[in-house]
C-alpha cells in the first residue's frame, strides 16, 4: 500500500463521450510537488485537469487525493466538495465583480489561520493597478494572472493550472515563473500544470508527464524526460534532436557511418552488433574548427545566447549543433563546419 499524496490509477479520460487519454497511471508522492503535463494541443491535457477537478466523470480506474477516492466508476465527489482549484486557460472571472472581489472570493472558504495574504499574491502578479477594474476592462494576460491569483488564495489541496502563462508577455513570463515556483513551494501547494512550453515544464515541474497519441508516454523527472526520452514519439515531440542509424560496437560505444565512433554510457543496454537509432541532441556534438570531421552548413539559427547550426552529413542526415554565440567566428550556409573528435555523449539514448 502506497501513501502517495495524489494518485491516478488506470484511468481513461473522456470528454463529450470520446476517450481522449487512456489507461493513465501516475502519482504525486509529496504534498507541495509540482507536476507538469506536456503534449500537443487537443490531445486531452485539459480533459485530465477537468476530470481531476470533478467536472468530468470517469468510467474506469480511480483518482485519489490525500488517500481518499474522489473519482472512480462508482464514486464522484462533486467539484465543490473536492477543495481542488482549476485556473482555466480562458477568462473565467465573474464578469459582474471587479478583480479584487474576484480574487477575494477565492479565499472565502479558507480558514483565517491558513490564509495566504492575497495582498502578497496581488503584488507578485502585478495586479495592483487593475484591482478596481472589471474583467471586460482588462487584457487576456491580466485576466489570466487574476484567475491565477484567485486560485492561489483559495489554498486548495490540489491546484491545477491550464496553460497559466500562455497569454502573459514574454518579458514578464520568466519573472512570474520564478515567483510562481517560489510561492507554490513555500505554501506547499501541490500543483498540476498543463503547458505546451517544455522549458516552462522543465523549470517548474518536480515531474513531467508527456502525453502523446492518447497515452501518458513518459512520466519522470524533467532531466530524465529531456536526456533520457523513453520513446521515439517523445523525442519527436520535444523536437530536440534527430535519430541517426548506428551499430553497437561495445557496451560503451557505437559506430555511425558519418560521425565515426561515439562513446558514452548507454541509457539502456543493447547487445553488441545491434542496429539502432541513436539520438543526437544539439548539445551532444562540439564544434572544433581544427577537426578533420567536416560537415556542410545548411542552416543557422541565432537564438541570442547561442547559434543552432544544422549540418548535412554525407548520407544526407541533418544534425543540429549548439555553438555559443560568443564563438569567435560564424559559419555561413554551404561552408564546412568542424566536429570535435572523439565524440563522447554522456547519455547514449538508442531505440
Amino acid at each position: 500500500m502506497t501513501n502517495n499524496y495524489f494518485e491516478i490509477d488506470n484511468v481513461s479520460f473522456a470528454a463529450g463521450g470520446n476517450n481522449k487519454v487512456n489507461n493513465v497511471s501516475l502519482s504525486i508522492e509529496n504534498e507541495g510537488d509540482i507536476v507538469c503535463l506536456l503534449g500537443p494541443s487537443g490531445i486531452g491535457k485539459t480533459t485530465i485537469l477537468r476530470t481531476i477537478a470533478g467536472l468530468e466523470k470517469i468510467k474506469q480506474g480511480t483518482i485519489k487525493l490525500r488517500g481518499k477516492t474522489i473519482s472512480s466508476s462508482n464514486t464522484h465527489v462533486e467539484p465543490e466538495n473536492r477543495n481542488v482549484a482549476l485556473s482555466f486557460q480562458e477568462n473565467s472571472l465573474f464578469p459582474h465583480y471587479n478583480i479584487e472581489k474576484n480574487i477575494n472570493l477565492g479565499s472565502e472558504r479558507v480558514k483565517d489561520d491558513k490564509k495566504i495574504l492575497s495582498k502578497d499574491i496581488i503584488n507578485f502578479l502585478n495586479l495592483n493597478k487593475i484591482l478596481n477594474k472589471f474583467p471586460h476592462e482588462i487584457s487576456a494576460g491580466e485576466a489570466q494572472r487574476a484567475s491565477l491569483a484567485r486560485s492561489l488564495v483559495s489554498q486548495p489541496d490540489l491546484l491545477m493550472l491550464d496553460e497559466p502563462l500562455s497569454n502573459v508577455d514574454q518579458s514578464f513570463k520568466e519573472e512570474i515563473q520564478v515567483e510562481l515556483k517560489q510561492i507554490l513551494t513555500n505554501s506547499k501547494i501541490t500543483t498540476i500544470i498543463v503547458t505546451h512550453d517544455s522549458y516552462e515544464a522543465f523549470y517548474l515541474g518536480t515531474k513531467c508527464g508527456i502525453i502523446l497519441d492518447g497515452q501518458l508516454k513518459q512520466y519522470d523527472d524533467p532531466y530524465n524526460v529531456y536526456h533520457l526520452p523513453n520513446s521515439v514519439e517523445v523525442v519527436n515531440f520535444l523536437n530536440r534532436g534527430i535519430l541517426i542509424p548506428a551499430e553497437v560496437t561495445s557496451p560503451k560505444s557505437l559506430e555511425n557511418e558519418d560521425l565515426g565512433t561515439i562513446t558514452g554510457n548507454f541509457a539502456r543496454p543493447f547487445p553488441i552488433g545491434s542496429k539502432v537509432k541513436l539520438l543526437i541532441q544539439p548539445e551532444d556534438l562540439e564544434h572544433d574548427d581544427s577537426s578533420n570531421l567536416k560537415l556542410e552548413v545548411v542552416d543557422r539559427k541565432f537564438r541570442g545566447s547561442n547559434f543552432i547550426y544544422t549540418l548535412k552529413t554525407i548520407s544526407n542526415k541533418l544534425i543540429p549543433v549548439f555553438v555559443h554565440s560568443h564563438h569567435i567566428h560564424q559559419h555561413e550556409v554551404d561552408e564546412k563546419f568542424g566536429i570535435k573528435r572523439p565524440i563522447h555523449i554522456d547519455h547514449i539514448v538508442c531505440f
Partner: protein, 536 residues
C-alpha cells in the same frame, strides 16, 4: 444521465408549456358534431381565404412601412431622425384592436372626421365623401400599423450592422444609390426582413380583436366561434390544428432566417461607424414627412382619437372604475412576470447544468408556444383540463378541478405563462449565452454549490436581462386580449377586455378610456426599454 432536481424541474416546466401543442395535435382525431361537415362545405374555405388575404395584405404593407422607415433612419441624416429612431417603435403600444376602434371612430358616419369637417366648413353631407376603412381593408390597416414595428426594429438592426465597407464597395463599383439599395443593402438585410415578416405573419394569423371587430371570419375567429357559439371544443381544436400547421411553417422560416441573420452581427473589434448621408432641404422634408406620417398614423392618430373621445365624453372616464382595472391589470402583470422569470430561470439553468439533449429538444419544442394564437392556447388549455378532470379526477371521485383552472386568475396566469414562455426563456438564454461555462465551473471549484452559483453568480449577473424581460412581459400582458377574455374570472376585467366589451357593444366612445390607459401604460414601458429594443 442523472435525473437530478434541476433536470426534473426543467423537464416539468418544458412539459407544461408543451401541453397545449400536444392537446391540439391529439384532438385532431376526435369526433365532432356535424358542425364540422357544415363548415367544411361552406365556411372553412372562406376562413382560409380571408386568412390568406389578410396575411398578404398585412405583409405587403408592413414590408413597405418597416423597411422604408428603417432605411431612412439608418442611412440618412435629417432633422428629427434621432426622434423617429425610437418614436417609431411606440406603435408597439397600440394593439390592432384599439387601432381598429380608432379607425372606425374617425371615419364612420358622423364620426370624428365628420365633426372636424363640420366645425371647419359648416354643416354638410360629408358622410358620402368620407372614405370608409372597415371590413378587410380596415383589418389590414389596423394590423399593419400595429405590427410594422417588428420589421422596422429587425431591419434597422440589420442595416446598422451592415459594414460600411460593403456600402463603400458599392460606391467604388460606381453603383447609384438606387442600385446600391437593391443589390447590396436590401439583399444583405434579407434574413432580418424575413424574420420580421414571419413574426408579423404569426401575429396576423393569431389576431382576434381586430378581425372580430371588423367581422372578418378567419381561422382564429372560427376557433373562437366554434367553441363559444357552437360549443364544439373538438372542432375548435381541429381548426387550431390547421392554423397551427400553417403557423409552425412560418415559425421554422423565422427560425432559419434568424439563424442566418446572425451573420450580420458585428465582427470582433466592433464595426465601423456608418456615415449617414446628409440630405438636402427637399429630400429632408420628404424623409421627415414619410417618418412623421408613419409615426402619426401608427401612434398619434389612435392616441388622439381616444383622447378626443375621452375629453368630449368625460362621463365615461368617471364611470369607469379605472383604479380597479389598473389594479387587475398590474396584478396579472406582476404574477405573470414573477412566474415567467422564475420558471424560465429554472428551465435555463436546468438545461445548462444537465446538458441533456432530450431536455434541449423538449424546450425547443415547447417554446414554439409563442407562435400559437392565444385563442388556441386558451381552448387547448380548457380541453386539457376537461380531459384530465374527466379521466383522472372524476375516476377517483375527487372534486372537479375545473373551477381551479378555468375562470380563475390561476388558470389565466398558467396560460399567459405558456404564451409568453418563449419570450422569457429566450431572453434569459441570450443572457446566459454570454456567461462562459468555465465561470460556472470556477464557481463550483471555489466551493459554491449549484444553487449558490445560481443565486450568487447568475442572478446578479443577469439582473439587466431580468429587468428587460419583466418589462417585455408587462407590455404583452397589458395588450393581451383573447386569453384574458376566455379565461378570466367572472367580473374580472382588464383595460383590454373592458375596451373589447364596449367596442363589441358598439360603444366605441366608452372603449376610448380603457384603450387610452392601455396605450399610455404600454408606451411608458416601451420608452423604458427602447434603449434595449433599439440596441445597436
Amino acid at each position: 444521465m442523472k435525473f437530478n432536481s434541476w433536470y426534473l424541474s426543467s423537464f416539468f416546466v418544458s412539459f407544461i408549456v408543451a401541453i397545449p401543442i400536444l392537446t391540439v395535435f391529439t384532438s385532431f382525431f376526435q369526433e365532432t358534431t356535424n358542425y364540422f361537415d357544415i363548415l367544411k362545405n361552406t365556411f372553412l374555405l372562406e376562413y382560409i381565404y380571408n386568412s390568406l388575404v389578410l396575411l398578404f395584405g398585412v405583409l405587403i404593407l408592413t414590408f413597405i412601412l418597416g423597411v422604408g422607415c428603417a432605411y431612412i433612419v439608418s442611412f440618412y441624416d435629417f432633422p428629427g431622425v434621432k426622434f423617429f429612431k425610437w418614436a417609431l417603435i411606440l406603435s408597439f403600444a397600440v394593439p390592432a384592436y384599439i387601432y381598429a376602434y380608432s379607425l372606425t371612430a374617425f371615419f364612420e358616419n358622423f364620426g370624428t372626421l365628420y365633426s372636424i369637417l363640420k366645425s371647419l366648413l359648416g354643416p354638410g353631407e360629408y358622410n358620402k365623401s368620407i372614405p370608409k376603412f372597415d371590413g378587410m381593408l380596415g383589418a389590414i390597416l389596423s394590423i399593419s400599423f400595429s405590427l410594422f414595428g417588428y420589421v422596422y426594429v429587425l431591419t434597422r438592426a440589420s442595416f446598422h450592422y451592415q459594414s460600411q465597407n460593403l456600402i463603400e464597395l458599392g460606391q467604388n463599383l460606381g453603383f447609384s444609390k438606387y442600385k446600391s439599395f437593391f443589390t447590396i443593402i436590401l439583399p444583405s438585410a434579407r434574413p432580418a426582413i424575413v424574420a420580421g415578416l414571419a413574426l408579423v405573419a404569426m401575429e396576423t394569423l393569431s389576431d382576434f380583436g381586430a378581425v372580430s371587430f371588423f367581422g372578418i371570419a378567419t381561422l382564429t375567429t372560427g376557433i373562437y366561434d366554434s367553441w363559444i357559439s357552437f360549443d364544439d371544443l373538438a372542432f375548435a381544436n381541429q381548426l387550431s390544428f390547421f392554423l397551427l400547421l400553417f403557423i409552425l411553417g412560418l415559425f421554422f422560416i423565422e427560425n432559419i432566417s434568424r439563424k442566418r441573420a446572425q451573420y450580420h452581427s458585428p465582427v470582433k473589434g466592433g464595426i465601423k461607424e456608418k456615415k449617414k448621408v446628409k440630405l438636402n432641404f427637399s429630400k429632408a422634408i420628404l424623409s421627415f414627412g414619410f417618418c412623421f406620417l408613419v409615426f402619426f398614423i401608427s401612434f398619434l392618430f389612435p392616441v388622439l382619437q381616444m383622447l378626443y373621445w375621452t375629453i368630449i365624453f368625460p362621463k365615461n372616464l368617471f364611470d369607469l372604475n379605472t383604479l380597479q382595472l389598473f389594479g387587475n391589470t398590474i396584478y396579472l402583470v406582476f404574477l405573470s412576470s414573477i412566474v415567467l422569470v422564475i420558471f424560465s430561470f429554472i428551465s435555463n439553468y436546468g438545461n445548462r447544468v444537465t446538458k441533456s439533449k432530450f431536455l434541449n429538444y423538449l424546450t425547443t419544442f415547447s417554446i414554439t408556444g409563442y407562435a400559437i394564437p392565444g385563442v388556441i392556447l386558451a381552448v387547448a388549455f380548457i380541453t386539457f383540463i376537461a380531459w384530465f378532470d374527466d379521466t383522472f379526477v372524476k375516476a377517483f371521485e375527487f372534486n372537479s378541478i375545473k373551477k381551479i383552472f378555468i375562470g380563475s386568475v390561476f388558470g389565466l396566469v398558467i396560460v399567459y405563462f405558456i404564451r409568453f414562455y418563449s419570450l422569457a426563456y429566450n431572453g434569459l438564454k441570450t443572457g446566459y449565452e454570454r456567461i462562459n461555462r468555465s465561470i460556472d465551473e470556477s464557481s463550483y471549484l471555489l466551493g459554491y454549490s449549484k444553487i449558490k452559483t445560481f443565486l450568487g453568480i447568475h442572478v446578479p449577473y443577469l439582473k439587466n436581462s431580468i429587468f428587460l424581460i419583466g418589462i417585455l412581459i408587462t407590455i404583452e400582458v397589458i395588450k393581451e386580449l383573447p386569453i384574458t377574455l376566455i379565461l378570466r374570472p367572472f367580473n374580472f376585467e382588464t383595460f383590454a377586455t373592458t375596451a373589447y366589451i364596449f367596442a363589441s357593444q358598439d360603444l366605441l366612445e366608452a372603449a376610448a378610456v380603457p384603450s387610452l390607459f392601455l396605450i399610455l401604460i404600454a408606451s411608458t414601458f416601451i420608452l423604458i426599454t427602447s434603449k434595449f429594443i433599439l440596441k445597436d
